[in-house]
Subunit: 185 residues, 2 copies
DNA sequence: CGCCCGATTGACTTAGATCAACGTCGGTGG
DNA sequence: CCACCGACGTTGATCTAAGTCAATCGGGCG
C-alpha cells in the first residue's frame, strides 16, 4: 500500500509490525504511525491511500478488497459502527501527535514515545522495540542522533535501562510521565 | 467543548469560525484545526473530547445531543456512511499535518498553510484570514515572529500582497506550491 | 576474520526561538 | 474631536535546541 496509489483494499495485520509513513520529494520522511497485530489499515484513505505502509520484519496480513468489504460493512451495521469508533480513536491519537510534533521538546517527545509503548508491557516495564532508531526519529520528527542522545540521557538519569539497543526497561515511569506532559521540570 | 470534558454533544457550525486546540500544562498550545461553516465537530471524541473548541468571533452552531444523534445515525445508514467518510478524510488531513509539523521548514509550513486556505477563494486568490497570527503560529508549530517574518519574505518575493494583516492576495500560486512541496528550491 | 549496518558520541553549525523595540489601528473617554 | 491606551503585528539583535558532519563502536553474517 503506497501513498497516492488507488486504495484497492483494507488490511488487518495478523503478525508483525508495519510502519506507516509519508515523504517529501527530497527524501524527508514522517512516520505517521506504527501498526501492530490486530490493527486495521486503510481507514485513512479516500480514493487513494494517504500513506505508504512498509513492513518491519516479516508480516502476515489479511486483505479485504475494498468493494467487497464495503458491501460487508453495509450488511453488518455493527461492523460499520466499530469502524467509526476506530476512526474516532485514530483521530484522537492524531491530535495528540500534532501536539507532540508541533510543541514538545526532544526530551518530551522521547518520553511520550516510551510511555506510548509501555501499556502492552504491563507492570514489568520491559519494552521490545521492533523499529530502528531511524524509524523512531522519523516518527518523532527528530534525527537519529537526537533520539540516541536523549535515550542515553534517560539512561544516565536512571530512568531507563538498555542492555541492547532494541530492548529497554522502564525504571522511572512517573518521572517519564512528568517529562512527557511537560509538568514543570 | 473542552479537552477532557465528557463528550455530550456533536455540533455543526452554521456561521463563523472555530479554533480546535490542545494545550500543555505550561501554556504551550497546538491548534489541531480550524472549522468553517458546514464542518462537523465531535468525530474526534471518545467518551471525552480530545480537543478544546474556541470561537473566533461570533459563531452559531447546531447542537446534537450525543445519544439522540447516535440513535439517528443507526436509523439512517446513509448518515453513518457519510460520517465514516468524513472521519477518513479528517485522518488523511491529520497525516498531512504530521508531515508538516514533523518535517517541513517554516517557509514550507507557511506556504502550505496559504495554499490550504486558497481553494474557497477560487481564481482570484483573495484570502480572508479570520484568525490572528498567534492562531496561525500555534497551528503551524511556529512562533508569531516567524510567521510574520515568513509572510514578509513572501511579500518581498512578490508571491503575495498584503495591504492589511488579515487579508491577502496570492500572486504566485505555482511558486508557493513548489515551496510547500519542497520540490528543489 | 573482516565487512557492514545500526547505534553512539563529540564538535560545530543553524533555523527558528527568545527578547526587545517600535509601528499601527480601533476604541474610549475627556 | 483628538489624545491616550491596549492589542496585534512587524522588525531587529541575540541565543539555543536540535541538526549536521564526522569519528568510533559493536554485533551479526558471509
Amino acid at each position: 500500500m503506497m501513498e497516492g496509489e488507488p486504495a484497492a483494499s483494507y488490511h488487518n495485520i495478523t503478525m508483525g509490525f508495519v510502519r506507516l509513513h509519508k515523504s517529501l520529494p527530497d527524501g524527508r520522511e514522517q512516520v505517521t504511525g506504527f501498526a501492530r497485530p490486530g490493527d486495521f489499515l486503510g481507514l485513512a484513505s479516500e480514493d487513494n491511500y494517504g500513506v505508504t505502509a512498509t513492513a518491519i520484519g516479516p508480516v502476515t496480513l489479511c486483505r479485504f478488497p475494498r468493494d467487497r468489504f464495503r458491501k460487508l460493512m453495509h450488511a453488518l451495521p455493527t461492523l460499520e459502527d466499530r469502524l467509526l469508533g476506530v476512526a474516532s480513536h485514530e483521530l484522537v491519537i492524531a491530535q495528540e501527535r500534532m501536539l507532540l510534533l508541533g510543541r514538545k521538546t526532544a526530551r518530551e517527545r522521547v518520553a511520550s514515545f516510551l510511555l506510548d509503548l509501555a501499556p502492552p508491557c504491563g507492570e514489568t516495564g520491559l519494552i521490545q522495540l521492533p523499529m530502528t532508531r531511524t524509524d523512531i526519529a522519523d516518527y518523532l520528527g527528530l534525527t537519529i542522533e537526537t533520539v540516541s542522545r536523549t535515550l542515553s540521557t534517560f539512561r544516565r538519569e536512571k530512568r531507563i535501562e538498555m542492555k541492547v539497543p532494541n530492548q529497554l526497561l522502564l525504571l522511572d515511569r512517573n518521572g517519564l510521565t512528568r517529562i512527557a506532559q511537560a509538568s514543570a521540570l
